[in-house]
Amino acid sequence: MTGFEQSVHFQIQTVTDLLFRLLADARFPSSDPPHSGGIEEACASGWVASAQELGEFVQGRLWTVGVTAAFAAAAVCARTTSSGAAAMPDSLWRSIESEIDARTLSPTARATSRAQGGQLLSKAMSAAPDAVLYSLARATAGDDQQPHHAVAVGAVAAAAGVTPQEAAAVAARAEVTGAAQAGKDLLNLTEEEFQPIVKQLDRGLSLLSVEAAKRALRSVSEFPAVVAPGLEFLAEEHARKDGRVYAS
């Protein structure tokens, strides 16, 4: 390998590495103020008042919105990796987007997901001008919209060369870590009280990401659609309140 080839190789390594870090970093793409995934409102209205209830709440998030996110991210990642970006038609991007819309009943939650997806996509595009990312940006720009966060995660994962399973784990994790952390802060939990919740989430995340990757190439209309009325209620109530600490 010549010096030039080595340097090119090195550059590609760092670009995908950069994308991977963008994905894996729990602080990104949370906005300022960060999102609490409904937990701020749940604590304020007394739905969640103990470590056990926080555990049930974040498990509830994981197995509803987390499932939708994991399946969407795995689907995008598997399809772009297997077919190549050029073969991913706009209609396929749009059908995955519309399946997420149909499963996300709250307009506020849809807007939050799109805002985060748009941020991730634009950051990723400035880091690595990858064909998959451009294809997604082109497909979603037509409706004057931004992609859902899980779809952007799937695309960035494909560009970074990670597996659909990892993409699913990243997308689902993004749905629960903010809520868990915010819940810990709001309820003043100790590390001893908080650790079992994190461990249970990790177990759930690995189960879920394996399952999502296994079924990633199935028709997107067949993906699970478990919804969470409690979360929809909290998201909308929270959006209409003043004096919020968290963005959602």
Partner: protein, 293 residues
């Protein structure tokens, strides 16, 4: 625990011509858009009884029992305006007091052709102790068609017994694009039923889906409501397309309907829906379908 695995969509198609398998009704529009029966068939458990406004959906009082697999199919022709009602709740029963009875399932497939309208407002589903019922519904809408879909269910234990489980799976697609796709379950066999993020252990759910292309997204407003003691919660959520979903959950359906009644008009509900939700088709104050005026 893989929580979402319980209520998978059922891809089996109803087999026409086998009367024992599928209750089937097909209507086309008369001169004024009224339904005219083209084809009707009953199954071992359900039958359609056509009327001038649509049909009664009838079933044996105790159906479905554990192990049953019921199929219902209804097609609304171009420009037709039809309504489906029932006289009794659908009560899912475990056949024997086994500790682990078989699940029961019903699959409903509905198509609404272009410019047509369907109001599907049967009496609610009830799961008694030990029952484990799942209800799969697929609705395909044509261009410019309207839909009112009422999906209500409750777990009703006999005194001293644990409640049963009712799972509801609904998918509405309009010209091939998904409008709503949800899966909701109540009862002990429904994973995470008690999570405050999901239903907080509510024993009754009222879900109303409305699709109306003449009533665009902007005309709906988000509306949230709670009963005075906070046990019943309700939301009106504008869909990403032209329509909205009302979700109310609480300890029983009567209270859920009271909260639903508070939300309908502030949310900006179209008049054709209000009149249909409020019509007491059986004519009598005891009807479950009557909402508080």
């Amino acid at each position: 625990m893989v929580a979402y695995m319980r209520h998978e969509p059922d891809s089996r198609q109803p087999r026409l011509g086998q009367a024992s398998k599928t209750a089937y009704l097909r209507v086309r529009a008369g001169i004024g858009g009224e339904p005219i029966v083209q084809n009707v068939d009953s199954s071992f458990a359900n039958a359609f009884q056509p009327t001038p406004w649509g049909a009664w959906l009838t079933g044996a009082a105790t159906q479905p029992v554990a192990g049953d697999d019921l199929h219902i199919r209804f097609d609304v022709g171009v420009g037709c305006c039809a309504e489906i009602r029932s006289m009794t709740p659908t009560v899912a029963n475990a056949s024997s007091p086994d500790s682990d009875p078989l699940p029961s399932a019903s699959t409903t497939s509905v198509t609404v052709a272009r410019d047509a309208m369907l109001a599907w407002c049967p009496e609610p589903g009830v799961a008694t102790s030990q029952a484990d019922h799942s209800n799969h519904v697929t609705v395909k809408l044509g261009a410019n068609s309207r839909l009112l879909w009422a999906d209500e269910f409750q777990v009703e234990p006999r005194t001293g017994e644990p409640p049963g489980t009712w799972g509801s799976w609904l998918r509405v697609a309009r010209e091939g694009w998904p409008v709503v796709s949800y899966e909701l379950g109540i009862g002990p066999r429904s994973p995470l039923w008690e999570s405050p993020a999901i239903l907080g252990g509510a024993r009754a759910v009222t879900s109303i889906v409305i699709v109306d292309p003449d009533h665009p997204r902007e005309t709906w407003s988000y509306e949230g409501a709670q009963s005075e003691d906070g046990t019943v919660k309700g939301v009106c959520l504008p869909l990403s397309g032209p329509g909205a979903q009302f979700l109310v959950w609480g300890p029983d359906l009567t209270e859920c309907r009271a909260v639903l009644g508070l939300m309908l008009e502030p949310a900006g509900i179209p008049a054709w829906v209000v009149s249909r939700l409020r019509t007491v088709a059986v004519a009598g104050p005891g009807s479950l379908r009557g909402l508080p005026a």
